[in-house]
């Protein structure tokens, strides 16, 4: 049996944590959801995660904070940022800093699949 690629979802919004892993599994990935960056860092999934779907604005450590932390830990994981804020200026900056994609909620499954494919191709 082929090990499915693990996609980790970090978002403080519960509905995202509920819905997104199910869709990822339908896509054929393994999926794990975390309610905060701290929870993710503390888990044993960091090393196995092939792609991180990361919410930007979260209480405590934000999405970009986690990215920097992973860089510091030299654990480069392809990151697809997601955000409910419609601020278009944030996307180019994140992409510049090495993010695979930045999706604005609500996003389509096509856009998500495309981003995941890009992320996995990178990895």
């Amino acid at each position: 049996m082929v090990m499915r690629s693990l996609i980790s979802v970090v978002d403080d919004d519960e509905s995202v944590r509920e819905s997104l892993p199910d869709l990822l599994r339908e896509f054929g990935f393994a999926a794990q959801a975390f309610s905060s960056a701290e929870e993710f860092l503390a888990s044993d999934c960091v090393g196995q995660t092939k792609c991180l779907i990361l919410d930007i604005a979260m209480p405590g450590m934000t999405g970009p904070d986690l990215r920097r932390e992973l860089t510091v830990r030299q654990q480069e994981i392809p990151i697809v940022f997601i955000t409910a804020y419609g601020d278009a200026t944030v996307r180019p900056r994140l992409l510049e800093q090495g993010a695979v994609e930045c999706l604005f909620k609500p996003f389509s499954e096509t856009a998500l699949l495309q981003a995941l494919n890009d992320a996995l191709r990178v990895s």
């Binding site: 919004d13 509905s15 995202v16 509920e18 819905s19 997104l20 199910d22 869709l23 339908e26 896509f27 604005a57 979260m58 209480p59 997601i82 409910a84 804020y85 419609g86 601020d87 604005f104 909620k105 609500p106 996003f107 389509s108 499954e109």
Partner: protein
């Protein structure tokens, strides 16, 4: 009797008879020589026959009577006719008695008188009786002359028959002069017609008359007399004479006139006649009472520096004109001196007066024919000089005690008049001010006696109601004007007021004839009338304009609040987008998952159902957000409802949570348990909370050295109020800015309009609450508001009269039937 001739026997007999006759018998020769006297003559006179013969008898006649007697005797002798004479004869003891001398001639056959026979009879008793009668007549006459009344006798034709001495002295004429005068010559012309009418009537009917007329005295002065005329009738009942009595009633009449005049003056004062008219009448009354005087009343101007015209009906106009306006100084003249010293000034003879030489006053007065002046101050009840009362005479005069009494009386009357006029003027001024003030402030006043239900309204109140002031207001009329929606609560106030006697205020509306509505505000004060009955006095202000402008202002405020709200929400755009995007994201993701679960073979029905359920949940969540947003964006009139402040705050937090997260604000809600609801407009209160939250968040935007902690707290406050506090750890308040914080367009932010706090405060104040700011002990500031807790009854809303409860029909009837 002794005869010269030798007697015969018959002669002796005859002589004895003659001597026995009860009279003094004598005979005389034609030349008057007595040649015979009887025995009784000798016995009575004590004279012998020889002593009495010839002219001798004359020694017995009273010397006063002799000349007349002799004259008469001679004329008798000459006439040859039988005659009588009277004279007093001396008796032997020296006493004189009246005798009647009767003589008869004795003629011979040729008709030649040969002898005179005489008989003297004692008529002393008759004479005494006659004299007694004459004495009574004299006495009567002297009594009538001495009577202090005018006594005249007139024939029915009006001719003067008699006038007593008093009449003659009074008119200064003899009886002859008086008889030549016309019947009514001394009667005052004004009284003549009445007198003539009365006299004519009495002559026609024979009834006595009674009238008061003035009669001219010798010196030209008229005095009042009470004239009474009565007829004297003969035995047949015909009027033979009218006797007229005139009693001097001048003093009584003057006293009466004075009293009547004073009464009339007081009536004028009481009747509110103009002061000048009263003072003029007063002067005229004095002038009619004190003969030959001229009066003036001068008033002291309010500054007490000048004399002003009061009244001087009989003094020359240019004399008064030269007095008024003179400075009130002692040397300006007697009246100025009186006013200056507040003391009476008497100048009995101006020709010898020196006190006002400086102002040459005396020569001016003398030039007008005035030689005496008595000036008296007119003082108020408090002793302040109001003016002067002066009496002038054309001759030097010194006041008598009765003058002083008059002066005291009239200065007192003048004082009453002037004080009354001054208080009237002050009252009128104050009434005018009040009326003007009532008009300017659209405020009317009223009184209401709760026992009699008598109501009085000021003119302005009638004006406010648009009612005719000549038709007295009644409770029915008042009730009929009330706005139907206000009848219930106004009648409740009225009924309560009947019982408790407490002050109250009430807002109500009245309906005008043109169906427009006026908003009125009444402030009512309880009191007692003189009978101790409960009475209310109130001021009613027409606050329609204020109400309408309040409503307009309220709308403006609401518009502005809406702008501010939308502006605040603009700051939340990202947050709102986040709040909406979040559930939308869930919906799309779930929907995608669901489709995929159904597309596989076999379809994952359970999984699809679960994702569909989540889709619905997220849809509802998005819908809630939209609903809240719509409420905040909506522009509707203020409503009043019971609001759970905790819940309202939670909603605001929900909307702004993402924004707070984005700005890294740590929010700590501390909601009080069992917080009572407040009454108010939910959206407006949420706007205030949102505004305070965003301000707090903004205040911490530049803070990096400490947690951006924001505490939002709800709790019960003292006095049945609820308080909400927002505490930040931001830049704090600028000390000079605290006062300005709540002013419109004051802002410390580059992108703010500066209306948020101003509008927040007006919203809180419209909820009868208070919004304030205070610096923290540590960094940051705390903003709080406190508003009264609500009760279900408040749902009607105090500031919205349209929402007032409709009155029950029976209430409406009650206020009309039994207000």
């Amino acid at each position: 009797m002794r005869d010269l001739h030798k007697r015969t026997g018959t002669e002796d007999e005859l002589i004895r008879v003659v001597d026995a006759l009860p009279g003094l018998v004598w005979t005389a020769l034609p030349d008057g020589h007595v040649d015979f006297l009887n025995q009784r003559w000798c016995e009575y006179t004590g004279l012998s026959v020889d002593e009495s013969y010839g002219q001798g008898w004359q020694t017995a006649i009273h010397c006063e009577d002799l000349p007349e007697l002799l004259g008469r005797w001679r004329s008798i002798l000459a006439s040859g006719e039988p005659r009588e004479m009277e004279a007093r004869l001396r008796r032997f003891d020296g006493e004189y008695r009246w005798f009647l001398f009767r003589t008869n001639p004795l003629a011979d056959s040729s008709g030649q008188i040969v002898k005179w026979c005489g008989v003297n009879t004692d008529i002393e008793d008759r004479k005494r009786a006659e004299e007694a009668v004459n004495g009574v007549d004299r006495l009567f006459r002297s009594v009538v002359d001495g009577l202090p009344v005018l006594v005249t006798l007139r024939t029915p034709a009006g001719d003067l028959e008699f006038a007593n001495r008093h009449v003659l002295e009074y008119v200064g004429a003899t009886i002859e002069e008086l008889k030549k005068l016309p019947t009514t010559g001394t009667v005052h012309p004004d009284d003549l017609p009445d007198l003539l009418a009365v006299w004519k009537g009495s002559v026609e009917t024979g009834h006595p008359y009674d009238i008061e007329v003035r009669r001219r005295r010798a010196d030209g002065v008229y005095r009042w007399f009470h004239m009474r005329g009565s007829p004297l009738r003969d035995t047949d009942g015909h009027i033979v004479i009218w006797y007229l009595l005139g009693t001097d009633v001048d003093d009584r009449k003057r006293a009466e006139n004075l009293l009547a005049g004073e009464k009339q003056l007081l009536e004028m004062v009481a009747g509110g006649d103009p002061m000048s008219g009263i003072l003029e009448a007063l002067c005229q009354l004095v002038e009619s009472t004190v003969t030959g005087c001229y009066c003036s009343v001068l008033l002291l101007d309010p500054d007490g520096t000048r004399l002003e015209r009061g009244a001087a009906p009989s003094l020359p106009a240019n004399f008064i004109a030269s007095i008024i306006g003179r400075p009130v100084k002692v040397d300006s003249g007697p009246c100025a001196m009186t006013a200056c010293l507040n003391d009476q000034v008497i100048a009995t003879d101006l020709t010898a007066e020196t006190r006002w030489a400086a102002s040459d006053w005396c020569s001016m007065a003398l030039a007008h024919g005035l030689q005496a002046c008595w000036s008296t101050p007119i003082s108020s009840t408090t002793g302040k000089v109001l003016g002067t009362f002066a009496i002038y005479f054309a001759q030097p005069r010194t006041p008598m005690p009765q003058h002083q009494i008059l002066i005291d009386q009239f200065t007192h009357l003048a004082s009453i008049t002037i004080e009354r006029a001054q208080t009237d003027a002050a009252l009128k001024r104050s009434e005018a001010f009040l009326a003007e003030a009532q008009h300017l402030s659209s405020t009317g006043s009223f009184s209401w006696n709760t026992v009699t239900d008598k109501i009085t309204w000021s003119e302005e109140l009638y004006h406010i109601y648009g009612l005719d002031p000549t038709v007295p207001i009644t409770m029915e009329r008042f009730g009929s004007r009330l706005h139907p929606d206000d009848v219930a609560h106004v009648s409740e106030h009225i009924n309560r007021a009947r019982g408790d006697g407490r002050d109250f205020e009430v807002d109500y509306r009245t309906q005008m004839d043109d169906h427009s509505v006026k908003y009125l505000h009444a402030v009512v004060h309880a009191g007692r009338d003189q009978d101790g009955q409960l009475e209310y006095f109130g001021a009613v202000q027409d606050v329609t304009e204020r109400r309408l402008s309040e409503q307009a202002l309220s709308k403006l405020r609401s518009d502005l609040a809406h702008i501010a709200r939308v502006t605040s929400l603009g700051a939340l755009t990202a947050s709102i987008a986040h709040e909406v995007n979040q559930p939308l994201s869930g919906i799309i993701t779930n929907a995608s998952t669901c489709l995929r679960m159904l597309a596989v073979d076999p379809p994952n029905i359970d999984g699809a159902r679960e994702t569909a359920r989540r889709t619905i949940r997220d849809g509802n969540r998005a819908s809630d957000v939209i609903t809240r947003l719509r409420a905040l964006f909506s522009k509707k009139d203020a409503t009043t409802e019971l609001v759970d402040l905790n819940e309202a705050t939670r909603e605001v937090i929900a909307l702004s949570l993402s924004e707070l997260q984005r700005t890294q604000v740590i929010l700590r809600p501390e909601f009080g348990d069992d917080l009572p609801p407040v009454t108010g407009d939910r959206v407006q209160l949420q706007q205030v909370i949102l505004n305070l939250l965003l301000n707090a968040s903004d205040a911490m935007g530049g803070v990096n050295d400490r947690p951006r902690q924001l505490i939002i707290k709800t709790e019960r406050d003292v006095g049945d109020r609820v308080r909400l506090t927002v505490q930040d750890a931001g830049v704090g308040l600028e000390p000079q800015g605290v006062d300005k914080l709540f002013e419109a367009f004051y802002t410390t932010k580059s992108d703010g309009m500066g209306i948020g706090l101003s509008i927040s405060r007006s919203i809180i104040e419209s909820h009868h609450g208070r919004l304030w700011a205070a610096p923290n002990d540590g960094p940051g500031a705390t903003f709080s508001f406190s508003i009264p807790r609500g009760s279900p009854g408040d749902m009607t809303g105090v500031h919205n009269l349209d929402a007032l409860q409709k009155p029950a029909v029976k209430d409406a009837q009650r206020i009309v039937r039994n207000p």
